[in-house]
Amino acid sequence: MRDRRMVFFGIARGAMAIILALAVGAVFIFLSSKTPFTALRYLLIGPLLSFHDGSVIFNAQYLFQIFAAMIPTIFTGLAVCVMFSANQFNLAGEGCVLAGGFIGGILGVYLQINSGWHAVVCVLAATVACGLIMLIPALLKVKLGASEMVTSLMLNFIILYVVLHYLNFNFADRTKGATMTKAFRSTAVIPSLVPGNSKMSVGFIVALLATALIAFFMYRTRWGYAIRMIGINESFALYSGMNVGWTIVLAQVIGGMLSGMGGSLEVLGRYQTYLWRELPGYGWVGITVAILAKNNPVYVPLAAFFIAYLNKGCLLMSTHCDVPSEMIDIIQAAIFLFFAAEQFLSGFRQKLVVKTATEDLMRLEADRGSRGGGSHA
């Protein structure tokens, strides 16, 4: 009874927060658009429904595009969940996505395996390599106490320039005007799950599997337990006899592996060549995802969906209406800020709590009364 009421409140609060956030976004839309209602329609329901000459049709391609967009962010979101759970403020997910994409891409071009295993090998190699890369900040932290925040931040740039160097001097396809590799072999391409150009590849399934795996890992295994306890209170974990150093390394290596896997699946699933020449930003989205999911892997796909849906809505709004694309940043920022506001409606929550508690107490008294006796000692 009490729990149901609180769950209901939680859902209502989330809905209210979204509505408020969108209302704030709407203010900006009204400011910048001549057709604000059409713009809002595109933002809110455009990703699901399209309107053609008065008829409304469900647009599966858009939904697939949203799922496709979730692939890298689910991975980085999970990576951040694991690392933040161990209280490691490691920001190198960004660099690992890039490195994973690069390694996967290069193997996709140059490795010769004439079967679907090609793609698997590419992705796994990227995964392992990024796990190894993450050893740098992890070991520096554990062995020397060097801030993982600093080393991981620097590592992002180091990865970027090393990748650019090799891309440019060793792997670039010189017939192209932009720096990119030759096309991936068809065996390395992650197959699409659905017809059309949505780029929703098998990677999406892998991402969901990874979510389940990480959720199990975090809540149903001794390593996940140790990671969480270290994140809550490192001294306590040490005192309890856990191998804190090893676990901290593990968390970051897993973070690197997940990011690398996400990067390689994204590159091999979406593009024909490896072409990233700057940090792709999925690491930061991963942080947002993890924060919205409150570090719980189970909620990561939901948070990733929320962001991908919002992005798609914004993109449609700017493609089909006169809302400039930079406005999107303002709207998204506003939506994040309000959506994540914990204190939102807290007054109402407290009232609900008081009501529930009073009821509980009354029931307790009544119970005691009916059980006989009656008088208090």
Binding site: L164, A172, R174, G177, N197, T273, W276, L279, T319, E326
Partner: protein, 352 residues
């Protein structure tokens, strides 16, 4: 709002085309995006087209947006022509062109899949030709000590956005032009590694001026290139050359005053030219239109500071070089498709 169909304008001769311009970056680049936009605006003002411009963001994180938008727009089937540009778009364009064979596309500044689709026209520009002329000019100028701020050392500078084929295409021409003009000239080439860190570009420019006595800097680094102009202005020891559009018009008065010329890439003009041809019944679907000096696809600014400061002999040299390139006596190498990395070898050889 970019829809600018105004009633009461002069009636167009041909059809009014409905055009959408997809910018895989942001306007305000003072370069090809702005140039394309300007061309379209002229066409729209003349009532020959109606158009919308969509900016899709400039970063790699926006690449999925580019993909989705071009597909989305093509699927609508309401536009007579979809315009996009740069060497970053061809893969996405090809995908959409395959999926929507009835939709017409134009891509400028790319040559990747010429002929693969019969509904796509490629406009490309010989930036290496333009680089050649700028190279001739810079090499001739750097020993003109009678001109203010010019020192006897034969060193000029090239500030590139990044070490990539397009940028190196400019560079290749620049190096060859400089070398042909004066074999003793050295070119200090440095890259910002992005197109927005003006401050870092400025540091590079300052180092070129202070350490190697470069007195002419060519900035080919998008917005960051301006850092080169600032370095020249603040030291008072060097001149700047702009790129893509006439930067004497876009820079502040002070910076413009030390800008000698700009290498031009006339995307807007080429788009207008394309519509002229279309109206005249000449179409180029499935082919590449390579626009060099002759076609007006590239050029340089020869009025203003160029006319004012460059000694006549230098001007003559540049004009002669232009003629030679136009009539094909001089073939400028291109960095695009340059498997041998000749540009890198030349770059190292000419580094002071």
């Amino acid at each position: 709002d970019k829809e600018s169909e105004e009633p009461g304008k002069t009636e167009p001769e041909g059809a009014v085309y409905k055009v959408i311009n997809l910018v895989n970056g942001n306007l305000g680049d003072k370069s090809f995006f702005d140039s394309a936009e300007a061309g379209l605006k002229i066409l729209a003002d003349a009532g020959r087209i109606t158009y919308e411009t969509k900016e899709m963001g400039a970063t790699d994180a926006d690449q999925p947006k580019w993909q989705e938008t071009i597909n989305d727009v093509a699927s609508m089937g309401v536009y007579d022509l979809i315009i996009c540009g740069t060497y970053q778009m061809p893969d996405y364009l090809k995908e959409a062109a395959d999926a929507y064979p009835d939709q017409k596309f134009l891509i400028y500044d790319d040559t990747t899949y010429v002929g693969a689709n019969q509904n796509v026209v490629n406009l490309s520009y010989r930036q290496n030709d333009m680089g050649y002329l700028i190279g001739v000019f810079a090499a001739a100028m750097t020993s003109q000590t009678t001109v203010d701020n010019i020192n006897p050392e034969k060193v000029v500078g090239f500030i590139g956005g990044e070490d990539s084929p397009v940028i190196n295409d400019f560079l290749y021409g620049f190096l060859e032009g400089a070398k042909a003009t004066d074999p003793e000239v050295k070119v200090d080439t440095r890259y910002v590694t992005n197109y927005f860190d003006t401050a870092a570009a400025k540091e590079l420019g300052l180092a070129m001026i202070n350490d190697n006595k470069a007195d002419i800097l060519w900035g080919v680094a998008g917005l960051a290139g301006n850092g080169g102009a600032e370095a020249a202005l603040e030291t008072g020891k060097a001149w700047f050359i702009g790129v893509d559009s006439d930067q004497e018009l876009t820079l502040s008065t002070e910076l413009a005053s030390i800008t000698l010329t700009s290498g031009l890439k006339n995307v807007g003009d080429s788009i207008i030219w394309f519509f002229d041809e279309w109206d005249a019944g000449r179409t180029y679907w499935g082919t590449e239109v390579n626009l060099g000096l002759v076609e007006g696809g590239v050029g340089y600014v020869s009025d203003k500071n160029f006319a004012k400061y460059a000694p006549q002999e230098v001007q003559d040299l540049v004009i002669a070089a232009e003629k030679a390139v136009r009539d094909g006596t001089i073939k400028v190498s291109s960095a695009i498709g340059d498997e041998t990395m000749g540009v890198v070898a030349l770059r190292e050889a000419m580094q002071p």
